[in-house]
Symmetry: C2
Subunit: 269 residues, 2 copies
């Protein structure tokens, strides 16, 4: 049934990064069931053409619809930037939530007419997704987007704290002279580095974790549509299109829970 | 004509990494013309299935055969490990040179019955390509393969010297207790980091740069087959399957020559 709240929430990313969003979702909505799909066979999406990303994301959405999901979270910045409209059509009338809008909304609400620094991948910076989303919400806001590619590798390697992480973050921040009011973690990998990032910022700077803000928007959306579940046990299924072993090893850190390859179902989409 | 030495040498990689091999080739063989093909639309190969890598590499080889190349250099560790036999069939009777064998040969010649540490990507370590190649050449040799994924991102970001690069290299090397006689740079990105790597090793340790050793094997192969050119002007064409701008920006550092997007021809393969 389309209005049955016991159905799972679908979460989709090109790889393991979206597991930080899943972690925030499970914390915020412990009664809900989740099905996560990581399209690891075709990552990274950031270097693919928009037409390819739309096609891949539509295939992933069809796979999650087959799992009877009640809401889709696009936990991938590239897909959120280029495929959200197509996925909303594919999911209609079911709701779709991306990661860009919630981050932009949280930043502009916390610091109206403020100066925002977006830390992201090269691909997200090139798409200008946060810049556009913030400008739409707060035309007086100033936005700078900074590509921090090494932070992705750092998060995947698990070297998220200590001197190496902080010196890399500091070197990136040193290239920015904008004195931001808020820093937006515009890549799903970066919540793992939040402590190292905070350590390099003035205490007054807000740090916006898109995973947390996306979880809030999902909770509000379910609430509005009477789709909240309040008596569940929080079941989780993890699907990936390739590399179950690596998905488990790296993904466990992102999800904040130990995983083995047996926890990951390989699927073709 | 199949024995015309004026034909170009084809060099193939999944991305920009092979440009370090191209740089070594151009230094060693300044009279030769080169056509380089980076399959940037489908990188990374390391996470793809062997069947997919073979298919992609065969497509790239066909594209280079259409450029009338006289020899093919597979400047990609993953393709060298899984597709060399298929590519040799596709190129026959023209010669094919990969990057794994030359590195293994140089290391075992320099340090017979020695202890070798291979720095590589996760994918190359998983394939065990250097371990197998060294065992075939010198059964008494000891080999340890160490995945150093962050070094790839470091090279692409251009942060190849200084404190950050050295502390990352040192952290990887600290996990190894094998006291190697030689360290093999088993990833085409790592020659950019050779100074940082040397700075973290005892002075007696040999460092084997696969790019340089591959260039030597190519020169010897051309010589044996009377395919050397000695009166050329060293023309270069760069082909990529996606992202000419990034290819030029990142690739320029790998090639050691300033590039612009206009220097890169986008091709479908």
């Amino acid at each position: 049934m389309i209005d049955d709240p016991s159905r799972p929430i679908g979460v989709f990313d090109s790889g393991v990064g979206g597991l930080t969003v899943l972690k925030a979702l499970r914390t915020r909505l412990p009664d809900e069931d989740f099905v996560y799909l990581g399209d690891t066979a075709r990552l990274p999406y950031g270097t693919k053409s928009p037409a390819s990303v739309v096609r891949y994301a539509e295939q992933a959405t069809r796979r999650l619809l087959a799992e009877d999901v009640k809401l889709l979270v696009v936990a991938c910045n590239t897909a959120s930037a280029v495929a959200l409209e197509a996925l909303s059509r594919a999911m209609a009338p079911l709701p779709v939530v991306g990661v860009v809008e919630p981050g932009a909304l949280a930043a502009t609400s916390a610091r109206p007419e403020g100066s925002h620094l977006v830390l992201a991948t090269e691909a997200t910076v090139r798409l200008g997704a946060y810049r556009k989303a913030i400008a739409a919400l707060d035309p007086a806001a100033r936005v700078r987007e900074l590509a921090c590619e090494l932070l992705v590798a750092l998060a995947e390697e698990g070297w998220t704290g200590g001197e190496i992480a902080e010196s890399i973050v500091r070197r990136y921040l040193d290239t920015d002279a904008s004195h931001p009011d808020s820093v937006i973690l515009g890549c799903t990998h970066f919540p793992l580095l939040v402590d190292a990032i905070r350590a390099c910022l003035d205490p007054g700077v807000s740090v916006v974790d898109s995973a947390v803000t996306t979880a809030k928007v999902v909770a509000d959306t379910l609430d509005r549509q009477n789709l909240c579940r309040d008596n569940g046990t929080g079941q989780l299924r993890l699907l990936a299109t390739d590399g179950a072993k690596r998905f488990a090893r790296v993904g466990g850190r992102f999800l904040g829970a130990a995983l083995t390859a047996a926890d990951v179902e390989l699927v073709d989409i």
